[in-house]
Amino acid sequence: MQCDEVARILPEAVEGGAAVELSVQRHIEQCLRCQAELARYRRMLRGLQLLRTRYLEPAPGLLAQTLAAIEEAGERQAVRSILSGRRLAYVGAIGGAAVAAGTAATVMIVHRSRRRTFSATS
C-alpha cells in the first residue's frame, strides 16, 4: 500500500467509525507521513466541532422582522380561510337555490301536464 492510496481514504477514515481495511491500518501504523496526515484531519474535525458553539450575532432587526413575517403569514392564512369559508357559503347558497328552482320547475311541469291530461279526458 502506498501513501497516495492511503491519503485518498483518510477523509473518511478520520471519523474512525468507517470500516478501514486492515492493510490501510497497518500502513498508517508504520508510516509517519500518513500518521501526520491523519492527525491533520483529526485536528481539522475538532476545529469544525468547536465552530458549533461559535454563534454569529445577526444585525439588529432580524428577530422583529422574522416575528412580523410570521404574524403577516398568519393573518394572510386567516383571511384566506375566511374567504374560502365565504366561498363555500356562496357555493352552498347558489346550489341550494338551483335545487329549489329545479324542484319548483318540475312541480310546475308535472302540474301542467296533469291539467292537460285532465282537460283532454273531460
Partner: protein, 213 residues
Amino acid sequence: MVTPAPFGESQVTTNELPREPNELDRLVAAACDGDRPAFDELVRRTYVDTYTLAMRLTAHEEDARDVVQETYLRAWKGLKGFRGDAQFTTWLYRITANTAYTTVKRRRRHRADSLDALLEEPVETRIEAQPEESAEQSAALARLSGALEQLPPKLRVLVVLKDVYGLTHEEIAEELGISVAAAKVRLHRGRKRLRDLVYEDAQQDGKRWDHAV
C-alpha cells in the same frame, strides 16, 4: 454588488439556546398545539443559532437573513408534522439546510451571468477570542471558518451539516434531495478540499495551524 458582512464583525460568544431542555420541550409542545406566543418564544431562543447556520451555509448576510425568515415560516406551517422523535433543534437545522440550499442554488443561477459572481470574494472571517481560548486557537478557528467559506457551496453544505452540526448522512441526503452515496462523496471531497485550504494556506503564510486547535 452586495458586499457580505464579515463573519467576524458579528461574532458572539454567548450561548443563546435555552439552558433547560425541558423548557424548550414545553414551548415546542405548546407551539404544536397552535400557541403563537410559545412559537414566538421559540423563535427568540433559537434565531441566533439558526442565523449562524444560515450564515455558514450561504456565506452571505442578506441570504442568511432571508433563510432565517423562510425557515421559521416553514417551521410554523409544518409544526403539526413535527413528531418529536428528533430534537426540535435538529428538525430546525434540517429546515434551515433545505431553505439555504434552495437559496444558494437560486442565487447562483440568478448571479451566474453577472460580474458579481466573478468579483465576489469570500467573506473575511475574524473570530473574537472566547475567554478560555488562546489567541492562537481563535486565529486557527478564524482561518478554518474562512476556509470553509471558500469551499464550493455544494461541498460546504455537507461539511457544515455533518462535521459542524452533526447531522447524519441520511438526514442531509433527505433535506438536499440527493442520495446518501452522493452525500458521502461530497463530504469526502469537501474535507479534502478544506484540508488543502487550511494547511496549504497556513504553509504559504508561514504559520502553523496544527498546534492551535
